[in-house]
Symmetry: C2
Subunit: 134 residues, 2 copies
Amino acid sequence: MAANVGPGSGGAGTERISEAELAVMEALWLTSPQTAAEVCDAVCTQRGWSIPTVKTLLSRLVAKGALATKPDGRRFLYTPRIARHDYVGTESKRLVERLFGGRAAPLFAHLAESEALTADDISEIERLLQEMKK
Amino acid sequence: MAANVGPGSGGAGTERISEAELAVMEALWLTSPQTAAEVCDAVCTQRGWSIPTVKTLLSRLVAKGALATKPDGRRFLYTPRIARHDYVGTESKRLVERLFGGRAAPLFAHLAESEALTADDISEIERLLQEMKK
DNA sequence: ACCTTACGATTACGTTTGTAATCTGAACGG
DNA sequence: CCGTTCAGATTACAAACGTAATCGTAAGGT
């Protein structure tokens, strides 16, 4: 029953979420709570998965403390225990840490160079910079 | 030349580099070529590794096509087959793809919010933006 | 009271990763 | 020549991951 968020504990979201697990999280971040079957509806065809796969991933995510469960009759409703916002922030920072020594500017330079920046991105970033200076 | 870089081939750097392997690559990006022992000098104490570990990682990186070897007497000299610049670019783009739907602006917003942006980063980014507009 | 069925739980199994120990063969010291 | 030593190569083995089949059980229909 959920109470336990992980062996070493440390709060929700301490443990790493794998690529496949992320797809499940995304579905639940989009709408939650959902049953396993509903999550499967959302991801199975897209990823070529079968229901057992989704159930395994759900269980692992619960074990990792990334999802909470609430019994609903005889099945479970799954809900994220960590906000997508937080997850994404942590992962972004991890990348900047790992690859750019914690400096964001070189990352930006790379994205610029590889044309991963659309015109919209650029003006949006300018806007954010303006705002930060206030 | 460059002939066979791996079973499925696809050019150097096609296969994913793991976290531990990355430490080895970093050492070789810093200075190369190096022998296994030299790489160990560079990373073993830092990561708490022993020489066999480094050798395993080197072998796996060679198998993945990320490193080239040149015999030097009875040992090997290892050299990166992919530039750090390229690796970092690919990984950055992958993150933006996976977490931000390919848009860089939200990533930037996250970094800004989490104070992962130093004053230096900000002015550097402004400079880059200026340059892009030309 | 059954039988089916729809759940979660348990088990499975190959691959990748982290972290090594051991084996094998060649070079070097004597 | 012969043993020690130092390479790379082979083997090891547990944890995490990707992907699932099977088991057990409780709910619902009849």
